[in-house]
């Protein structure tokens, strides 16, 4: 149908009288099944901006500067122990996890971890432009 409209448009450029008869601007899709059907505009979800967590967010982030450097904001992070105050790509994270937690992991998880480390090492260091 779109092809036909295109042909008609091309044909109309030759005869200007036919151009006024053809209004071939379709702004909607003519797909068969529309998966999302709505009977009304959905209401905005109501978010409470002043919960305990939201109003106290970020408190004690400057505990080092304002508190005599006895603590560091990295002590506040709630994370698995191999990710506290650490940022790295996937291979670095997995190696750190194996170093720190590897001996108390389940056998299947440890096996998958070792396979993934082996795959990523070969991928990063033997393939591609950067090696």
């Amino acid at each position: 149908m779109a092809v036909l409209g295109g042909l008609l448009k091309a044909g109309a450029s030759f005869c200007q009288s036919a151009a006024t008869l053809l209004h071939t601007a379709r702004t909607i899709s003519t797909g068969t099944c529309c998966q999302i059907r709505m009977h009304a505009i959905p209401q905005l979800k109501k978010v409470d901006r002043w919960t305990e967590k939201r109003s106290m967010y970020g408190v004690y982030d400057n505990i080092g500067i304002l508190g005599d450097f006895k603590a560091h904001p990295k002590d506040l992070i709630v994370a698995p122990c191999w990710l506290k105050a650490f940022k790295g790509n996937e291979l670095q994270r997995l190696i750190r996890k194996k170093k720190m937690v590897g001996d108390r992991m389940m056998t299947l998880d440890k096996h998958n971890l070792e396979k993934r480390i082996r795959f990523l090492y070969r991928r990063f260091n033997r393939t591609g432009k950067h090696r």
Partner: protein, 299 residues
């Protein structure tokens, strides 16, 4: 915005019987950063004021700058008469409004604690899928090696999020200190910073605090900062039930909380503490080892 919604309610009550053009539509969405026009613009204290100067700057003020003068108010009475004046150090409360530093510190505060636990299984971790489903040639179907490849329904994800990821990084200490100074200066410049002599309230009723804020036109949300580990019981009880009025110790001051709450209240001891901590970084030596290890001249 309780003031704006009060106007809407009064107008709609009036206009319910008269369907005229003054009726506000029920689904009206106003921008949330409208400033209350009834907010009193008290001018900064003039030079020849009769009220006593309650606090002078302890640190040395540079010769080309003059201290910032503000009113010192009280929470004990409901009327809005200031008690006296206070002088604040310009290098903490009158720095240039560096919005880029505020943005940097705010994004750091949001991201350095962030741990994303989004995780998917790859084709080798999904249960099953070791056997070739049908032989390579002859069956007429497409060739496949396992039923858990990313092409299959129920198969592994090829390039999905992998395990808990961390977004930790640290900004330089002086940038974080400058962020605090810029935030305090911005609050002072926009007249959202209020100084109070002490946090003693006559009653532990939260309604008293709300009436006080409404009467003085301080804003919608209030952040109260005080030095020391113990606060008066009245104010603790009053702020415990209120959502938009929060009290934190001075060690917990940070840029995100200052931006979230519209008005900030500091006590005189808090100002001394903050000036002491924030001005030290202007004239310190670069650390040879982390500051948490003992230095001979730094407590």
């Amino acid at each position: 915005d309780f003031k704006i919604s009060a106007n809407i309610v009064s107008l709609s009550k009036f206009a319910s019987s008269f369907p005229g053009e003054s009726a506000l539509p029920p689904n009206l969405l106003l921008p949330t950063n409208l400033v209350d026009p009834a907010r009193l613009r008290r001018p900064p204290p003039p030079a020849d004021c009769s009220l006593p100067l309650l606090r002078k700057c302890d640190a040395v003020v540079p010769a080309h700058l003059s201290p910032v003068q503000t009113w010192v108010e009280t929470l004990a009475r409901l009327d809005g008469e200031p008690l006296g004046l206070a002088q604040l150090h310009p290098d903490v409360f009158a720095v240039h409004p560096r919005l880029d530093i505020l943005h940097e510190v705010e994004t750091w505060q949001r991201n350095y604690k962030r741990i994303s636990h989004a995780s998917t299984k790859i084709r080798s971790e999904v249960r099953g899928g070791g056997r070739k489903p049908w032989k390579q040639k002859g069956s007429g179907r497409a060739r496949h090696g396992s039923i858990r490849s990313p092409l299959w329904k129920g198969g592994g994800v090829a390039n999905g999020p992998r395990g808990p990821t961390s977004y930790f990084y640290m900004l330089p200490m002086k940038v974080r200190v400058q962020g605090l100074k810029v935030a305090l200066s911005s609050k002072m410049a926009q007249q959202y910073l209020h100084i109070v002599d002490s946090l003693n309230i006559p009653s532990p009723d939260p309604q008293y605090l709300l009436d006080l804020i409404r009467h003085k036109h301080w804003g919608e949300s209030l952040l109260i900062v005080d030095v020391g580990e113990e606060f008066p019981e009245n104010i603790l009880q009053a702020t415990a039930s209120l959502k938009t009025v929060n009290i934190i110790p001075a060690i917990g001051l940070n840029v995100h909380s200052m931006l979230k709450h519209e008005a900030v209240v500091l006590t005189l001891e808090t100002i001394k503490f903050l000036e002491d901590k924030l001005l030290w970084h202007d004239q310190r030596y670069t650390p040879l080892y982390p500051f948490k290890l003992p230095y001979s001249d730094f407590p």
